[in-house]
């Protein structure tokens, strides 16, 4: 279990507590500046809260050696950079850094999962945006972490790749991995997450099942709009009010 206990960070988070479960996809949503990325970075042990703590199982995350923490928690930053023009395979192998090995089986499995086997020797500079995003996610998976924390992994992906990535993350969750994602798309959170945390101005204003949490009242409070959900559970679409063509 990954637990945030009374996390506070001046100007960004205010007394946020949540217990995240392995085997689930948890979505962190909220308007811009709500503190989503800060919460994710705290959960990953990359940002030290002013007060409060993050517990991984029974140990305080801050007390773990960086290497131990890195073996347990894989983290994908919001705008990942790749400084040198390494090949896809070399990039993915960097995910083995916490283990200080180059476990071929783990690297191959990550390449296969992200459908990169044919591209393994291609330099990163010659990848399309979608291929690059897949390679960066494969880097996280190669480390075989028990938790996958990703900051807006769906940004910059077209629909096909969004679907592929969501499928991969679902498979990870079914294998017992805890998946935590910062998301902007409420429909994706509604349809694909097992659990949703809604942040607003640094406060956790809702936490629970997507159908319960992403109700009109919460959306109105956090985003200040009154959208409508259409469709069946698992296949919801969000309609924004009063902005479509011909609605004025």
């Amino acid at each position: 279990m990954l637990r945030a206990e009374h996390l506070s960070l001046t100007g960004r988070l205010d007394d946020v507590s949540a217990a995240l479960q392995p085997g689930e996809i948890t979505a962190i949503v909220g308007p811009n500046g709500a503190g989503k990325s800060s919460l994710l970075a705290c959960l990953a042990g990359l940002l030290e809260p002013d007060s409060g703590s993050v517990m991984l199982d029974d140990a305080a995350l801050a007390s773990l050696a960086p290497q131990t923490r890195a073996q347990a928690i894989g983290y994908l930053p919001q705008s990942p950079e790749v400084a040198w023009d390494v090949s896809v395979e070399t990039l993915v192998a960097l995910g083995r850094s916490p283990w200080r090995d180059r476990d071929v089986a783990a690297i191959d499995a990550a390449l296969t999962t992200m459908e990169l086997t044919d591209l393994r020797l291609r330099p990163v500079s010659r990848l399309s945006g979608g291929e690059r995003a897949r390679a960066l996610m494969a880097r996280v998976l190669a480390g075989q972490p028990r938790w996958v924390l990703a900051d807006e992994p769906l940004a910059n992906l077209d629909l096909t790749h969004q679907q592929t990535l969501l499928g991969v993350l679902r498979a990870q969750a079914q294998a017992g991995i805890g998946v935590v994602m910062v998301m902007h798309g409420l429909a994706e959170a509604m349809n694909h997450a097992d659990r949703v945390l809604v942040l607003f101005e640094g406060h956790l204003i809702a936490d629970g099942l997507p159908e319960t949490v992403l109700n009109q009242a919460t959306i109105r409070r956090a985003w200040g709009i009154d959208p409508r959900w259409l469709g069946e559970p698992g296949q919801r679409a969000l309609i924004l009010p009063g902005t479509g063509r011909g609605t004025t």
Binding site: L46, P77, W84, T90, L94, R100
Partner: protein
């Protein structure tokens, strides 16, 4: 052993004996013996060539590690305060007239490098941020540069002034085994420290935050960098004055022959740096000039057009 390493070792094995023959007095093994050839070889050319290998290796390795740390192909280990700090130490030894005593000039230079390293870690050390490291390094470099100019302008005698200016140009002429004894252990220790930083530098490819998520301790990495660069660059300035551009050119040229991970670039860059300085120094000896061309000047003359070509290439990529 990878292919670039094997190739560079072969090139060194060929170039090293050949450069020993080159100089104002050419030593042709197949012609009639040159008077004093043995002394020229063992007391003049051999220490000089060994020193060229050591310093070149240190500067090449430092450049590879520095570019990896800052994730920037234009980073040169000389830019970050340690070389100017060491040079300032050496200048002070001239200024106080102590440079004549055998061990004192390199000792002053190493003290200067150590002071610059201490300042660098003091200012940038707490956060482990590469940006702060760069800015602190530049601040120290400009401070040391200003103090060097001050020391030169306040030189006690015109003789000291000209000695300082000439020394600053960097050269391997008139070096003895004493200099090798000082530079070799420090440089080798420095390269070992940089190699130890290798895996962390690889993780830095993904940026500082991702590197931390992969278990890199940024403060430990910064200590390794300051230690490794300080030892290699400090030793090189102590033994030969300021020799620029080796750390910039060499890793950049070699990157395409490796898998581009910083850790894989350190050893080839050390070998290629050794080769470059060895050959450049031999060329300085044989150029038909009134007085020998200073190695530091020669490498800068070579380095500046290279830097320009690099900038033009970057500009093309940006447009």
């Amino acid at each position: 052993m990878t292919r670039p390493i094997a190739f560079l070792m072969l090139a060194l094995a060929i170039a090293f004996p050949l450069t020993l023959l080159a100089g104002r007095v050419w030593i042709d093994p197949f012609a009639s013996p040159v008077p004093n050839a043995f002394i020229i070889l063992t007391e003049l050319r051999l220490p000089r060539a060994v020193l060229a290998l050591i310093l070149g290796a240190g500067l090449g390795a430092a450049g590879a590690a520095m570019q990896g740390y800052l994730r920037n192909p234009l980073a040169d280990p000389g830019l970050f305060g340690i070389a100017p700090g060491a040079a300032l130490g050496a200048v002070l030894s001239f200024w106080t007239g102590l440079a004549g005593t055998t061990w004192l000039l390199p000792l002053f230079a190493l003290l200067g490098a150590g002071t610059a390293m201490a300042l660098l870690s003091l200012i940038a050390g707490r956060s482990g941020s590469a940006l702060l490291f760069t800015l602190a390094g530049m601040m120290i470099a400009s401070l040391a540069g200003a103090m060097m100019s001050l020391a030169i302008s306040l030189s006690p005698t015109p003789f000291a002034m000209s000695e300082i200016v000439i020394w600053l140009m960097g050269a391997l002429s008139d070096r003895s085994w004493n200099d090798v004894v000082i530079a070799a252990p420090l440089t080798l220790a420095g390269i070992a420290v940089l190699l130890r930083a290798g895996p962390s530098l690889d993780a830095m490819t993904l940026g500082e935050q991702a590197a931390r998520s992969l278990g890199v301790d940024p403060r430990a990495l910064q200590w390794l960098m300051i230690g490794g660069i300080g030892l290699t660059v400090g030793a090189s300035v102590a033994a030969a004055g300021i020799i620029g551009f080796v750390g910039l050119i060499v890793p950049h040229l070699l990157r395409r022959f490796t898998d581009a991970r910083p850790s894989q670039l350190i050893v080839p860059s050390a070998l290629a740096g050794a080769l470059l300085v060895l050959i450049a120094d031999a060329l300085c000896r044989v150029l038909p000039l009134q007085s020998e061309l200073r190695l530091g000047i020669a490498l800068s003359l070579l380095g500046a057009p290279f830097f320009l070509a690099l900038l033009l290439q970057l500009r093309r990529e940006l447009v």
